[in-house]
Point group: C2
Chain length 247, copies 2
């Protein structure tokens, strides 16, 4: 009952070779293989493929997509919500681009003048997508300092820190709908503070500041759900910084 490569390719709008490639690298292995050796894709495979394409649209390399989706902790619902907010972020950047082109058209007509910085102010997409937001929120110096300090760490240190953040993010994500006073929530929050301290050693004052902000927020004690959602965004920002500096 599975679909063949061309059927999938036509449905989705990708090439047959792409499906072959995804199979080769183990990203999307068809559920079944016919007696003649044909790949047969199930409905679940299609859902996975949809996930892959969402991630690809967001610019993730296939290797990382595979790591994320094959992780035992992978949760589709959670991934979709993450992708959703990242797509909104992407639209925000696209809107910046559009505004930049509008300005450039005016400037080319001689109606307005633009500095060299302004000529490229819409191109922050080429950097870390969260960096601009971080700069707006915490100031340039804090972000530059953080980047530099992270850059000075060894690859092993960076990776270890990144994995720690991953772990905490996952445990907090799993606790979003639980009582904030539960043991698990307390443990996760404890880990979170340990992580912040660790980051503090590398002078990531910006992140520390944001952490404190959340602690001071009364939602912290009132509504773990909203808190969790805001925290997820914070963690995502932080992880993006690592992702960009790693590898």
């Amino acid at each position: 009952m599975g679909m063949t490569v061309k059927q999938v390719a036509d449905l989705v709008g990708i090439s047959v070779r792409t499906l072959h490639h995804y199979d080769e690298i183990g990203l999307l292995t068809p559920a079944d293989i016919s007696s003649g050796g044909y790949r047969l894709y199930s409905d679940e495979d299609l859902e996975q493929l949809q996930q892959i394409l969402f991630y690809k649209e967001l610019g993730f390399p296939l290797k990382r997509i595979g790591e994320m989706m094959h992780a035992p902790s992978f949760d589709r619902q959670e991934a979709l919500e993450l992708q959703y907010s990242m797509l909104l972020e992407k639209r925000r950047r696209l809107d910046n681009m559009i505004a930049l082109v509008e300005q450039t058209i005016q400037s080319a007509k001689g109606e307005i003048e633009m500095t060299n910085e302004e000529k490229f102010a819409g191109f922050d997409f080429s950097r870390n997508p969260y960096e601009q937001e971080a700069r707006d929120r915490w100031g340039d110096k804090a972000v530059d300092d953080s980047n530099q300090k992270i850059g000075n760490m060894t690859k092993e240190e960076q990776q270890a820190l990144g994995e720690d953040m991953n772990k905490i993010y996952r445990s907090l994500a799993g606790l979003r709908h639980q009582d904030p006073a539960s043991d698990e929530a307390q443990a996760a929050i404890g880990e979170w503070f340990r992580l912040l301290n660790k980051m503090g050693n590398y002078s990531l004052d910006a992140f520390k500041g944001l952490g404190q902000m959340y602690v001071d927020d009364e939602r912290f004690t009132k509504n773990i759900d909203q808190f969790g959602s805001g925290l997820a965004k914070f963690m995502r920002n932080a992880m993006a910084v690592f992702a960009d500096n790693r590898q």
Copy 2:
């Protein structure tokens, strides 16, 4: 007074290697070279770089960007307006994606059901970006027929036809602000009809239909500017089909 590679790279948010690469392939050659052999970029170089990045954002390969920008008929103002409308198109597709993710989240929660087609209805970005619009406007059959017929042409035929379209597009673009009764406008319009006939030989009925639509439109005789603008879009659609089928 020129800027060095790193200064440009930091300003724009790209790597030094990228600038080297663009120089290597002749896409962006610095205006000047210092006595020590350093590349020195002028303000005009920066404007060109901005153009390049706009095109890149829209998914054009560097080779084609070079061809377009080095063409003697290249007009920056015109290019910016084209890029603007293509960015709007891109945002439309991104909005489709976002809507798709929203639906998928609901479907994952079990709130709604989705067919396999619907699961990928937001991914038309992976095909010809204008094809969906063409399908909406002219129907699936016309587009499929056109694509098939173009696919059956030899590479030489396709290329020749594409160059013809290019020529006419350029001459019409240059005539946008002129009197429709002028000799040049009449000549361009004459060429346009010859092209439509030629396309007719390959059964591009969809394009013929659109052409006829414009001829019947009373704006044709009243406002060459609006006509030209609509035509530009039509030509762009057509050229995109060729671009996709060529090479």
